[in-house]
Symmetry: C2
Subunit: 145 residues, 2 copies
DNA sequence: GATATTTAAGACTTAACAGGCTTTAATTAT
DNA sequence: ATAATTAAAGCCTGTTAAGTCTTAAATATC
């Protein structure tokens, strides 16, 4: 919806890393298992996250991946951008017309403009540390019936 | 983004029909040409719109398709629903977690909930007649340099 | 150094979406 | 009746996203 499946997996994986907050690297296989992500697929996604300096990878025994910087300095849009590539230069018309501009917009235009901005704002504002904290809290609550 | 390419074409085609507002049926080929939609593809989309009672088709010479009811009684969500199928029953978590509910939501949850609601509202509120009117106006403006 | 373990890299497979082609059925004008 | 015209229907092709497999490279441990 907002981003690809790959980006979703990437966010989940990085939340997991922020949750555990271990100074030691964490194995891809462990992350994959915890969040139920296809392991090999996650491995490949991790590669691109490493290339984009969001993760660092340590290979060999006791290897794994860890966050490249503190969780509170990593924002969602950075992850999405890294995995899905840069967003399109020109803003897209909701109904795919090509001859339109901002003069005399159709009723959809105002609405869509606001929504698009909200989405952007959401991805820019939220950082991993916050998310991980909240997910942890939530997990605690749900384990107490 | 919000809907498939097919749904986008469907919306464009139905706007065209609302624009021309002809009591006579309009040929698929004509619509396809006007909005630069692959004709055969649009033909197939039209079929599903007919099945969902948004269009009626008249075949044979002088045939074509027309809106099944007045344009101001057709809303975007009906078109999207018809082409892309019903939206998922359970509301989706933005980051794809499956163990979450509304108790102690993560920071994304509030934001996303609002955005999702705005999108839904946009699709529910806008009807074809409005859109067609605005697109017509816009075309007029853009033709006067 | 040998070995086990872990990510890196790239080829490969599968599935879904977008689009095209061709034939068939329905309708109307002649 | 017949020919022309139009949507309906089914199958084929290309593209992209999602997922799998195989081999190579790096590293810790013995
Ligand atoms: S005014 Fe409407 S049709 Fe034009 S670009 Fe904006 S959303 Fe699209
Ligand atoms: S609280 Fe956050 S993680 Fe849970 S369902 Fe809502 S958006 Fe998803």
């Amino acid at each position: 919806m907002l981003y690809s499946k790959s980006a979703e997996y990437a966010i989940q994986a990085m939340i997991y890393l922020a949750e555990t907050n271990s100074p030691e690297p964490v194995m891809i296989s462990q992350i994959a298992k915890a969040y139920n992500i296809p392991q090999q697929f996650l491995a490949k996604i991790a590669q691109t996250l490493v290339k984009h300096r969001l993760l660092v990878a340590i290979r060999g025994r006791n290897g794994g991946v860890k966050l490249a910087r503190p969780a509170n300095e990593i924002y969602l849009n950075q992850i999405v951008y890294a995995v899905d590539g840069p967003p399109p230069e020109q803003e897209q018309c909701v109904i795919g017309l090509d001859y339109c501009s901002d003069t005399a917009p159709c009723p959809l235009h105002h609405r869509w403009k606001i929504i698009r901005e909200d989405i952007r704002e959401m991805l820019v504002a939220e950082d991993l540390a916050d998310l991980a904290l909240r997910v942890l809290e939530k997990r605690k609550i749900m384990n107490e019936p």
